[in-house]
Structure formats: structure tokens, C-alpha cells
């Protein structure tokens, strides 16, 4: 029991700190919420420290099989915390600028992170569900935080209704699985399936609902309807948050359910995921071309990226999962940078939401135009940027597992995808700006965004370490 508690020290730290942040904010009179912000960042840092200090280097299942800590969970949690630190940094700048600053943003954010950490470590369908709901409920509230905005409210309601529906599906799937295997614990489910006495039809039936739940949370087609509206309607800081760390948690959930729990059904879920992947890549990449709002365009690009993420899972091998992990981490980095750019270009009265706001950026500010160029080419998967390696990695594993046709389809849709990324570069470099107003942004915002952008290039030039890290996550 004592070890069990040690294992969850990072989660406990985060929970305690989140409550503390709530208290601090209640007593703070500062309109800029400086203390709240710094305590929030501190709590994430403390969680990171706890994570690396208290995590064993073997995998350990705690709380009667409900919670696991293994290399994958530790690494993913580490990345989730690190990414959230940067996200909160960007968010703070944005919220300050747009006078949306409320202490609740950070409290909800911390609870969302807690939900993600639980999802990452959950080894029991119920604890997975609990983590997911903690994350989702925090996100619903965050989307709705801009109370006066009708767009935000619409987005929040849409997100909530569809999210509730998906949770229902997930629960239904869980109950089916429980019905046939008599357990919700992932190892026990696997054993039950392997024993061969379980009726396969009901099992696959339940699994389909689980996959629907996963696909919805990750935003894969055809369960992607909420993504564009939420991305567009929510305040940019929230969109930024939704598009980064929760994707990692969603990936972890997919791995837990499909790989740790339902691996004996690999043939079945490979087939289902292939359909989802192709649909996502097609719908995401094609519809993105028609968008004029950059947040909406990025929403469709996310849908396409989730399709590529599935490719690594479809490969069905340890290195394939590592490929997916690499993909989702690089995606989170790129997505953060891109939304960071949108925040940077935004001004109080006008958010840089339209594609046209990027017109002539190279003349207005050549350095950030270059950063955006790196981000866009990276998203498009052009070497030597990070995004190329993430596509390369999943494609390589896909081909190694013999899904060559799927790989061909995937690269075909990536060509379509290149077009709309190129369009942004075209706007920045080949068009004249509508306004010559200088970019107003704080010094630290510039520095962090620069580091974010250069990381895309530098990891692209030397991707070995990140690849190694992802491979170790699945080597056990």
C-alpha cells in the first residue's frame, strides 16, 4: 500500500497544488493574477520533479490493478507537464492582452492536467473513464469562459453535448466488455480474451464503442464535427491548450485500451482504425483547403494529423506505437508554436484569426515569418523539419508491418495537405501586407516563441534523442 501511494505522489502533488492555486486566487486582489500564474507554473514544475524523483524504473501496477506506472506513462506525463507549462505561458500573455484573465483558467487547467495524468496511468476502464471525464469537464468550462462571446458559448455547448454523447458511447462499450469478460481491469480483460471462452462477437461489439469514444476525444473523422467549431469558437488560449497536451493523453488512452487491454483483437481494431485514419486524412486535408479562418484551418489539419497518428497504432508493433508517440509529441510542439504565432499577431481589438492577417508578414517582421515558415513546412512534413520525421516514423513502421497500400494513401493525402500550408507561406512571403503596424508582444513572448520555432528545426536536424525516448517508452 505504501508503494502504491509513492507511485501517485506526482498526482497528489498536482491535486494539492491545484487546490492551493484556487485558494491563492480567491485571496489575491491583483487584476493581473500574477501570483496565481506563478504558483500554477510552480505546481507544474513540482509535479515534473516529483514525477522523475518518485517514478520507479520498472513498471508497477498499483491500487488493485487500477493504476500503472511504466516508462510510457512517466514519459508522457513529463511531456504533458512540460507542454502545459509553455501553453500556460502563451495563455497568460493572451489572456492579459485580451482582458480575459481569470484565476479559474489556471485552476481548471491544472485539473485538466490531473485528468490527463490519470488517463495516462489508468489501467482499469473505470479509472480511464474517470481521468477522461475530469479532463473533459475542465475543458468544457474553459471553452465557455469567455461568457459574452456567442461563438464561445456555442462552441462550449456543442463540445459538451457531443462530448457527453461520446462518453456515453464509451461507457456503453465498457459495459459490453464487462459483460463478456467479467472485469474492467486491463490485464484481466486480456487474460479473459486469451482464455478463448469469451464470445468474440460481443467483445468486438463493445470494442467498436470504445474506439468511437477514443476517436471522438482525439477528433478523428467521422467523429470530428466538434473540432472545427470548438477550435474556432474558443478563446485562442483554450484552443491552444486543447490542441496540445490532451492529445497526448488521448493517445495514452488509445494505447491503454487497444494495446494493453484488447491486443488479442488486434486484427479487428487495425481494420477499424484504418478506416478512421483514411477518412481523417481525407476529410481533414481536403476540407482544410476551403477554410479562410486560420483556427478553423488548423482544426481540420488536426483531424488529418490524428489520421497519421493512427497509422502508427495500426502498425501494431512496439516501434509503431513509439512512432505514434513521436508523432503526437511533435504535433503538440508544432501546434503550440502555431497558436503561439496567432497570439503573437493578435492585437487587443482584433485577433489574427483570418488567413489574411498573415499577409506580408515577412515584410512586417521577417524573423517571425521565418518561424511560421518552419512551423508550416514542418506541419506539411517537409524535411528537415520535425514534422517530416514524425510522418517518416509512422510510415516506416506501417510499411514494416506490411501495410504498404495504406502508406501510399497516407502520402497521397499529405500532398493535398501541403497545399494549404503553402498558402500561408505564400501569404507571408509573396503578398504585400495590408497594414504595416509593428508586432506588439512582450519580450518573453518573443523569446519563448523563438525557442519553440527553433526546436522544430533543431529536433528536425537531430531527431535521434526524441526517437530514442519514444522507443524506450515501448521497449518494456
Amino acid at each position: 500500500m505504501r508503494t502504491d501511494l509513492i507511485i501517485v505522489i506526482p498526482e497528489i502533488t498536482l491535486l494539492t497544488m491545484a487546490c492551493l492555486v484556487l485558494l491563492v486566487d480567491a485571496f489575491s486582489k491583483d487584476p493581473l493574477h500574477k501570483i496565481t500564474y506563478w504558483v500554477t507554473q510552480l505546481s507544474l514544475l513540482l509535479t515534473l520533479c516529483a514525477l522523475f524523483y518518485y517514478s520507479p524504473d520498472y513498471s508497477y501496477i498499483a491500487f488493485n490493478g487500477g493504476f500503472i506506472t511504466d516508462t510510457m506513462s512517466v514519459l508522457l506525463k513529463g511531456f504533458i507537464c512540460a507542454i502545459t507549462i509553455i501553453v500556460f505561458f502563451y495563455s497568460y500573455e493572451y489572456l492579459k492582452e485580451n482582458e480575459l484573465l481569470k484565476g479559474e483558467y489556471f485552476v481548471l487547467g491544472l485539473f485538466a492536467v490531473l485528468g490527463m495524468m490519470i488517463m495516462t496511468s489508468a489501467y482499469h476502464l473505470l479509472s480511464i473513464y474517470l481521468g477522461l471525464e475530469l479532463l473533459s469537464l475542465s475543458l468544457y468550462a474553459m471553452v465557455a469562459m469567455q461568457r459574452e462571446s456567442t461563438f464561445a458559448t456555442e462552441a462550449a455547448i456543442k463540445y459538451f453535448v457531443l462530448g457527453a454523447l461520446a462518453s456515453g458511447m464509451l461507457l456503453y462499450g465498457i459495459s459490453m466488455i464487462y459483460g463478456v469478460t467479467g472485469s474492467l481491469q486491463l490485464t484481466e480483460i486480456t487474460e479473459a480474451i486469451n482464455s478463448g471462452v469469451v464470445d468474440r462477437m460481443y467483445l468486438v461489439y463493445g470494442m467498436v464503442f470504445l474506439i468511437v469514444g477514443i476517436a471522438f476525444k482525439l477528433g478523428a473523422a467521422p467523429f470530428h464535427m466538434w473540432v472545427p467549431d470548438v477550435y474556432q469558437g474558443a478563446p485562442t488560449s483554450v484552443t491552444l491548450f486543447i490542441s496540445s497536451a490532451p492529445k497526448l493523453a488521448g493517445f495514452a488512452m488509445a494505447v491503454r485500451i487497444l494495446v494493453d487491454g484488447l491486443f488479442p483483437l488486434v486484427d479487428d481494431w487495425q481494420a477499424i482504425l484504418s478506416v478512421l485514419a483514411v477518412l481523417s486524412m481525407a476529410i481533414g486535408n481536403i476540407i482544410a483547403i476551403a477554410q479562410t479562418n486560420i483556427k478553423r484551418m488548423l482544426a481540420y489539419s488536426t483531424i488529418a494529423h490524428v489520421g497519421y497518428l493512427f497509422l502508427g497504432l495500426i502498425a501494431g508493433t512496439a516501434s509503431g506505437f513509439a512512432g505514434s508517440m513521436f508523432y503526437i509529441i511533435s504535433y503538440a510542439l508544432m501546434s503550440m508554436g502555431t497558436f503561439g504565432m496567432i497570439i503573437l499577431l493578435g492585437r487587443y481589438d482584433l485577433e489574427a484569426e483570418k488567413l489574411d492577417d498573415f499577409k506580408g508578414l515577412s515584410i512586417r517582421n521577417s524573423w517571425f515569418a521565418f518561424i511560421m515558415l518552419c512551423l508550416m513546412f514542418s506541419m506539411a512534413g517537409v524535411p528537415p523539419f520535425l514534422g517530416f520525421w514524425s510522418k517518416w516514423f509512422v510510415l516506416k513502421e506501417l510499411v514494416a508491418s506490411g501495410f504498404i497500400e495504406l502508406a501510399v494513401v497516407a502520402v497521397f493525402f499529405s500532398i493535398i495537405g501541403v497545399y494549404y500550408y503553402l498558402r500561408i507561406i505564400k501569404l507571408m512571403y509573396f503578398d504585400q501586407p495590408d497594414t504595416m503596424s509593428a508586432i506588439k508582444a512582450s519580450q518573453q513572448m518573443r523569446v519563448v516563441l523563438t525557442i519553440n520555432g527553433l526546436l522544430i528545426l533543431l529536433i528536425g536536424l537531430a531527431p535521434n534523442s526524441l526517437m530514442r525516448i519514444c522507443l524506450t517508452a515501448f521497449s518494456g
Partner: protein, 506 residues
């Protein structure tokens, strides 16, 4: 000698790239320094390649100047460089051409000069990288990232329709390349290696070879470009600034040819044999049909672009004639000649097309028109220029004594081994090439000056004269004495022919 231990291939890649970044730091305010610095960097790069040529061992068919260490150790991807006789002439061509491009931009590009120079210098480094990479993923990274500077060059400094042209260029070439990536990944799953030379040795089923061949074909045929995937080239050429056109025609097209020699033929020789006739027919269509298309162009740059496609038809013809010879005669006699002819054609076309585009550039700077009908009687006001252009026009139509003749002649000669009619059809280019080039020359240069602006034209200045003089001397030199090129590549080509004449079937 201290030069012996230099990592010369790495320097060929990184000196221009770092130099390019440095031009950005110098910035536009110091325009003169940017120009001189860029010229200095390109000159250094050219000297490096000259050292490479000097130290190169002609009698050795394998890779030389090898540099090898792990880049992405997790998957055994190496930073693995080396040159053989096939790559070396192309590297020389690249480094030589970029010196000219920098000189040509001297007084022409007036805005964002440091970006312009940076883009070209980075591009040079990446192109050198393509020619020296021996790891297929490293090759792919250079091959694709090269598109980025070219995309910007056409898009920023191009003509009125530049956005359409540059996006078309990017998407077209990207389309071809990604399928090559899948093929490379498949080869890795079979061999467990990304090493290009290891891929040469691996035995493969015919079906697999065919699919691999098609994937490579998409990448390289688009780049060369072969009929019918050539349509991006006229657009890109017309819209690109002069320097961009020169690089496109002189070097980028050659990468497609290089890709065929480095990947398609040695990795899938049986599929190449299988598709050999198709490729020969496609090449002949390019030579003849595109020749006719060139005849009716009204835009000089477009005309030269089409003439490039037609000339590159000779290159692909020369690459696949050996397979025709294997099939027809069961021996490889004459195969080396065809392939060397194609290589020579690549080199010579690099110089000639660069020269032609620079000539059009010289006129365009003065009159801001590329239309043939806007000119006429240029010889009256620009006699020196007319003389240079005469030489290049003759070379473009394959006149003996110029480098344009050597390659075409060898390829035609080699085609006789397969069939008289192939040789006959290919030889039509000597008529067609002369027709479109000289007809254009006549309409632009000779006759009365109908427009007042034309008679006021100033003849070329020392800078332009120097550029054209350099090119003219190379064109003539290789026309009468092509040995420096042949000597370097002979052993490597021979070894390649030997390799592809053997089946790789299991």
C-alpha cells in the same frame, strides 16, 4: 598535403549553407558586402570542388572521399557521403553555375538582396548534398528540403504569375518524391538498411521491382521532367527570376537524371529492362513532340524551357538504351557509350541552358519583355551580345564543335545498336533543335530594329560579358575536348552498366 584530410564533401554542403545564413546577418543595409561575400562563398565552393576533381582517382569505380558516421542511430541512418564518377561532374556543374548565378544577380536584384543570396547559397549546399549523399534518407532530406529555397526564389522574385507557378512546382515535385519515400521505406523493411550501396545489392522479386521502379519513376521523371509530367517546368521557368531559371535548368533537372542512375537502374534493373521500351518511347515523344511544341512558342523563356525538356529526352533515352541493347543483342557492347552520352548531355545542357537563360535575362533586364515579337534587330545595337548568343544557339541545336553535339551524337550512335528507327527519330532533334533555336535567334537578333527601344539598347557590360565568356569557353572546350568529363566518369559508368546487366531476381 593539408588538403588530404579535409572533410571536403561536408564542406561543399555546409560552407554555402552557413555562408547563406551569414548573408542574412550582414543584412540588406550593406548591399555591396552581401554581394561580395556571396561571390566569395561561391568561389570558395567552386575551388573546393576543383580540389575534389584534382584529387579524384579516375581509375577507381567505387565511392571516394567517404565520410560516415551515425546521424540517427536509433534506426541506423548515417550521415554518409561519398562521390563517384557519376556525381563528380554534376557537383562541378553545380558549383560552377552558382558562381554565375551570383554574378548574374549583381545589378538585377534590387530588393531583399541578402535573402536572395541566402536562398541561393543554401540551395547550393543542399544540391551538393543530393549529389554526395550515400544514405537514402539523407538523400531524401536533401532532395526535399531543396524545394524550400526554390519555392521562395520563384515566389518572391518571380514574374507576375509566380504564385501559381511556384505552388505548381512544389506540389508536382513533392507528389513524385513522397512515393519514392514509400519505396525507400519498403526497401528498408526488406534489407534493414538505408545505405544506397547496400540497396544496390539486394535481390528483389520482379513485382516488387516494378512497383519500386514506378515509385522512383514518379520522383525522377517529374524532376527531369519527362513527357507527360513536364507541365510544371514551362510555368516555373517563365516565372522564375533569371538566376532561378538557370539553377532549375542547369542543375535541378539533372537531379532527376542522377536519381535514375543512383536509384532506379541499379536497384531495379529487371524492372528497368521490363519498362525499358516504354521509357525509350516516352523519351522519343519528349524529343520530337516537345521539339514541335518549342517551335511555336512566343515567349523566349518558354521556348528554352521546352527545348530543355526535349534535350532531357536524350538523357533518359541514353539511360534506357542500354536495356534496349541488352534485349536486342544480348551483350553490353555500346551500352557504355549511350550512358556516357547521356551524362555528357546532362553536363553540356547544364552549361548551354544556363547560357540561354542568361542571354534572355540580359535582354529582359533592358526591355522587360520576354516576347519574341518585341525584339528584332538586336544585333544592330548589341553586336557582342549577338555573337555570344549565336554560339549558344548553335550549341543548343547541337552543332559539332560545341558540347551540345557530343552527348547527342553518342546517344544516337548507341541507339543504332537497338534499332535504326530509334536512332532516326532521335536524330530528328538535330533538325528540330536547329529550327526552333535558330528561328528564334533570327527573329530576335536579326532584321531591322522595328522598335525604337531596341535600337537604343546598350551592349553587354564587362560583368555580363565575363559570365557569357566563361560559359562560351566551357561550351567550346567540351565541344572539342570532352575528355575531362569522360575520364572522370568512365570507370563508374562501366561498373554501373556491368551491375545493371545482371539480373537481381531471386
Amino acid at each position: 598535403m593539408f588538403l588530404d584530410n579535409l572533410p571536403i564533401l561536408s564542406m561543399l554542403i555546409w560552407v554555402p549553407i552557413l555562408g547563406g545564413i551569414w548573408t542574412l546577418i550582414i543584412s540588406d543595409q550593406q548591399e555591396r558586402i552581401v554581394k561580395h561575400f556571396s561571390l566569395f562563398i561561391t568561389a570558395i565552393t567552386f575551388l573546393l570542388s576543383a580540389v575534389l576533381y584534382y584529387q579524384f582517382d579516375n581509375s577507381f569505380s567505387g565511392m571516394q572521399f567517404i565520410e560516415e558516421f551515425y546521424w540517427i542511430e536509433a534506426f541506423g541512418i548515417k550521415y554518409h557521403l561519398g562521390v563517384d564518377g557519376i556525381a563528380l561532374p554534376l557537383i562541378m556543374l553545380t558549383t560552377f553555375t552558382t558562381v554565375l548565378v551570383v554574378l548574374a544577380a549583381w545589378e538585377v536584384i534590387d530588393e531583399n538582396i541578402s535573402y536572395y543570396m541566402c536562398a541561393f547559397l543554401v540551395l547550393t549546399g543542399l544540391m551538393n548534398g543530393v549529389f554526395v549523399a550515400l544514405d537514402s534518407i539523407l538523400f531524401y532530406v536533401f532532395w526535399e528540403s531543396m524545394l524550400i529555397p526554390m519555392f521562395l526564389i520563384i515566389g518572391i522574385w518571380g514574374g507576375p504569375n509566380r504564385v501559381y507557378a511556384t505552388i505548381k512546382f512544389f506540389l508536382y515535385t513533392f507528389l513524385g518524391s513522397v512515393f519514392m519515400l514509400v519505396a525507400l521505406l519498403y526497401l528498408y523493411s526488406v534489407t534493414g538498411s538505408f545505405n544506397i550501396q547496400a540497396l544496390h545489392e539486394v535481390p528483389l522479386e520482379l513485382t516488387a521491382q516494378k512497383l519500386i521502379f514506378i515509385a522512383f519513376f514518379l520522383a525522377f521523371a517529374v524532376k527531369i521532367p519527362m513527357w507527360p509530367v513536364h507541365t510544371w517546368l514551362p510555368d516555373a521557368h517563365v516565372e522564375a527570376p533569371t538566376g532561378g531559371s538557370v539553377i532549375l535548368a542547369a542543375i535541378m533537372l539533372k537531379m532527376g537524371g542522377y536519381g535514375f542512375l543512383r536509384f532506379s537502374l541499379p536497384i531495379a534493373p529487371d524492372a528497368s529492362l521490363f519498362f525499358g521500351n516504354t521509357m525509350i518511347v516516352l523519351s522519343l515523344i519528349a524529343i520530337v513532340y516537345i521539339g514541335f511544341v518549342a517551335l511555336v512558342q512566343e515567349d523566349m523563356k518558354k521556348l528554352i524551357a521546352y527545348s530543355s525538356i526535349s534535350h532531357m529526352g536524350f538523357v533518359t533515352l541514353g539511360f534506357f538504351i542500354p536495356f534496349g541493347i541488352f534485349a536486342a543483342t544480348n551483350s553490353s557492347a555500346g551500352a557504355v557509350m549511350g550512358m556516357e552520352g547521356a551524362m555528357m548531355q546532362m553536363i553540356s545542357h547544364g552549361f548551354i541552358s544556363a547560357a540561354m537563360f542568361l542571354c534572355v535575362g540580359v535582354m529582359y533586364e533592358r526591355l522587360h519583355s520576354r516576347m519574341i515579337k518585341d525584339y528584332g534587330g538586336v544585333v544592330n545595337s548589341m553586336p557582342c551580345f549577338a555573337a555570344f548568343m549565336m554560339l549558344f544557339a548553335m550549341a543548343n541545336s547541337g552543332l559539332p564543335g560545341t558540347s551540345g553535339f557530343v552527348g547527342e551524337f553518342l546517344v544516337i550512335l548507341s541507339s543504332f545498336k537497338v534499332s535504326f528507327w530509334i536512332a532516326f527519330t532521335a536524330a530528328l532533334t538535330l533538325i528540330l533543335g536547329a529550327a526552333y533555336t535558330l528561328w528564334m535567334y533570327k527573329r530576335v537578333i536579326f532584321g531591322e530594329a522595328i522598335r525604337e527601344e531596341v535600337s537604343d539598347l546598350k551592349d553587354i557590360d564587362a560583368r555580363e560579358g565575363f559570365i557569357l565568356f566563361l560559359l562560351a569557353s566551357v561550351v567550346l572546350l567540351f565541344g572539342v575536348w570532352p575528355a575531362p568529363v569522360f575520364d572522370v566518369m568512365h570507370v563508374s559508368v562501366q561498373q554501373l552498366i556491368e551491375h545493371i546487366s545482371q539480373t537481381k531476381l531471386l
